[in-house]
């Protein structure tokens, strides 16, 4: 009973935040609606009993990705605001494409075989740890190698270069 209410609350926050991201014209406000949406998703994970996933969602998405987005947005917010409103002909084909996509998603959600057997265990962290180092060790190591490559690439791209002052073309 209470879970249903909470689910509807989190879902409402998610949907409203998502719509607000689309509707808003101020890019910084968009970033913060995004944060609201990510927190609502974390709330849904908590409702499902996937506590570890919810906490990781907050740490990685809200505390990492969203902070990165907010940084980027705040340093460039004054330039891009005017380019975000779509023009008339763009709206038409956008509605078509998103309508088709939305129809497919809704059908998949309503008709798909989602009622599966989810193992509810109080020791979620231990289970995840065992499967990460057991069945899924391949993807786990690959993901860490990928992260290492990303770190190296970012450090290379952001290295200090000797600037030569040039005249604006």
């Amino acid at each position: 009973m209470i879970e249903t209410i909470l689910f509807y609350i989190f879902a409402m926050i998610m949907v409203v935040s998502g719509l607000a991201i689309l509707v808003s014209t101020n890019i910084v406000r968009m970033a913060y609606w995004l944060i609201g949406m990510l927190l609502a998703v974390a709330g849904i994970y908590f409702l499902l009993g996937a506590y570890f996933l919810g906490v990781v969602q907050i740490i990685v998405y809200v505390g990492g990705v969203a902070v990165l987005v907010v940084f980027g947005v705040m340093l460039t917010s004054r330039q891009l605001a005017s380019q975000l409103l779509p023009r008339a002909w763009e709206v038409v084909w956008l509605i078509c494409v998103t309508g088709i996509f939305l129809a497919g998603l809704v059908r998949m959600i309503l008709k798909g075989p989602w009622a599966g057997n989810v193992k509810q265990s109080p020791q979620t962290v231990a289970e995840i740890g065992r499967s990460l180092l057991g069945n899924f060790i391949g993807p786990f190591e690959l993901a860490s190698v990928l992260l290492l490559v990303v770190l190296l690439g970012a450090a290379y791209l952001a290295r200090p270069r000797v600037p030569t002052l040039g005249i604006k073309k």
């Binding site: 270069r161 600037p163 040039g166």
Partner: protein, 390 residues
């Protein structure tokens, strides 16, 4: 505001295009007249590129009170309180400079007791002024506690001054001809008590602030002013001595019985960075406090009986001519240039304020430093705006 694009060196990944999307502009930032870390009403206009400072321009004049023009309208003895208010943290030394200049021009002989009293009070005021400099420098760096310790010690000195002349900040005690009043009973013993209490405190300040690793990182190798640059910009006082130049007017051109005293002149030695960084200038001030304590002890020994002032007429007339006399202020060389036409007041009185010349080096020091370093530099130069603007 000109927009400058930074083009990278040509590279495999054609970074020229990428860099041109993220334009970096020069930001004009105003460290306004009201600011916690500019010592007084100083406006520094900074041209920054992100955190890096490209140019720093000090704008002064916010405390200008026409002190030099006023001198043309008041008599010499009436001008002494105006000298107090120029460098209000070292008022005794300002009084001393003016009194010595006028006495030299007028040929007035100062009695011996007055001369030793002058030395005592000038050196005590040097200690008080350096305490403010050291304490507020710690405050700028974020160390809140040494500030209060220095002011606690300063309270004692200021109470000693109050017992003598009734004022805590602007004394007008050292007047033309001698000092205004004799010291009260018990002053000598209280002064000795203060010196005994104070000397170990300097070791405490060194433990707490000077040799603190974080403080050394903030001030070492920051704002390096080599000796030739210091002399070129006209720096004097602890700023010059911090750059390694051993020049002190009390030793080089002694006045007022300073040649009878035995003291050292501390000089910056580049212990934690290049010679002439902020730490050196700061540490010279700390060491000068020790030397001032020595001088005061010797002066207290030599204090003899006698009158404390020569007889000076109320409307003092100085012979026609001009004189330039410099004394060693806690902040540098304070000079008085008096042009007299033989009347009651000078025809022109010009004051060479040491903080004015010290502040001019800020522009030269502030190339390619960080925003946090500007506060470190202004604090190490120890400017008092009353003296810069007069």
């Amino acid at each position: 505001m000109k927009e400058i694009e930074i083009h990278a060196q040509p590279d495999l990944l054609h970074e020229g295009e990428i860099a041109s999307d993220i334009r970096t502009e020069e930001l004009l930032v105003n460290m306004g007249p009201q600011h916690p870390s500019t010592h007084g009403v100083l406006r520094v206009v900074l041209v920054t590129d992100g955190e890096l400072i490209l140019k720093a321009t000090p704008h002064i004049g916010y405390l200008h009170r026409c002190a030099e023009k006023i001198a043309e309208n008041v008599s010499y003895r009436q001008y002494t309180p105006y000298t107090d208010r120029m460098d209000y943290l070292a008022a005794m030394n300002n009084n001393l400079g003016f009194a010595l200049a006028v006495e030299k021009m007028g040929g007035i002989e100062v009695p011996e007791r007055a001369q030793y009293l002058r030395v005592i009070f000038a050196e005590l005021n040097r200690i008080a002024s350096h305490l403010v400099a050291v304490g507020s420098y710690g405050l700028d760096m974020g160390a809140f506690t040494p500030f209060l310790y220095c002011f606690r010690e300063r309270e004692w000195i200021v109470d000693l001054f109050e017992s003598v002349c009734g004022a805590r900040l602007t004394y007008s005690y050292i007047t033309i001809g001698g000092v205004r009043e004799d010291i009260p009973e018990g002053f000598v013993s209280q002064c000795k008590e203060f010196l005994d209490f104070f000397e170990p405190k300097i070791r405490e300040y060194n433990d707490l602030l000077s040799y603190n690793h974080i403080f050394i990182n903030r001030t070492g190798n920051v704002g390096v002013c080599p000796a030739d640059m210091a002399i070129g910009y006209g720096l004097t006082g602890p700023c010059l001595r911090g750059s390694g130049v051993k020049w002190d007017l009390r030793k080089n051109t002694p006045y007022c019985k300073y040649d009878e005293f035995d003291f050292d002149v501390p000089v910056g030695d580049g212990r934690f960075g290049a010679v002439g960084d902020c730490w050196d200038r700061y540490f010279v001030r700390v060491m000068e406090m020790t030397q001032s304590v020595r001088i005061v002890r010797q002066a207290l020994e030599r204090l003899s009986d006698g009158p404390v002032s020569a007889k000076v007429p109320r409307m003092l007339k100085l012979p026609a001519g001009e004189i330039y006399f410099e004394v060693e202020n806690p902040r540098g060389q304070l000079g008085f240039y008096i042009v007299s036409e033989g009347g009651n007041s000078p025809y022109r009185l010009k004051v060479r304020g040491p903080s004015f010349c010290n502040l001019s080096v800020l522009e030269g020091l502030a190339k390619n430093c960080l925003l946090a370093d500007i506060a470190a530099m202004i604090g190490s130069l120890d400017v008092v705006m009353g003296e810069v603007d007069r």
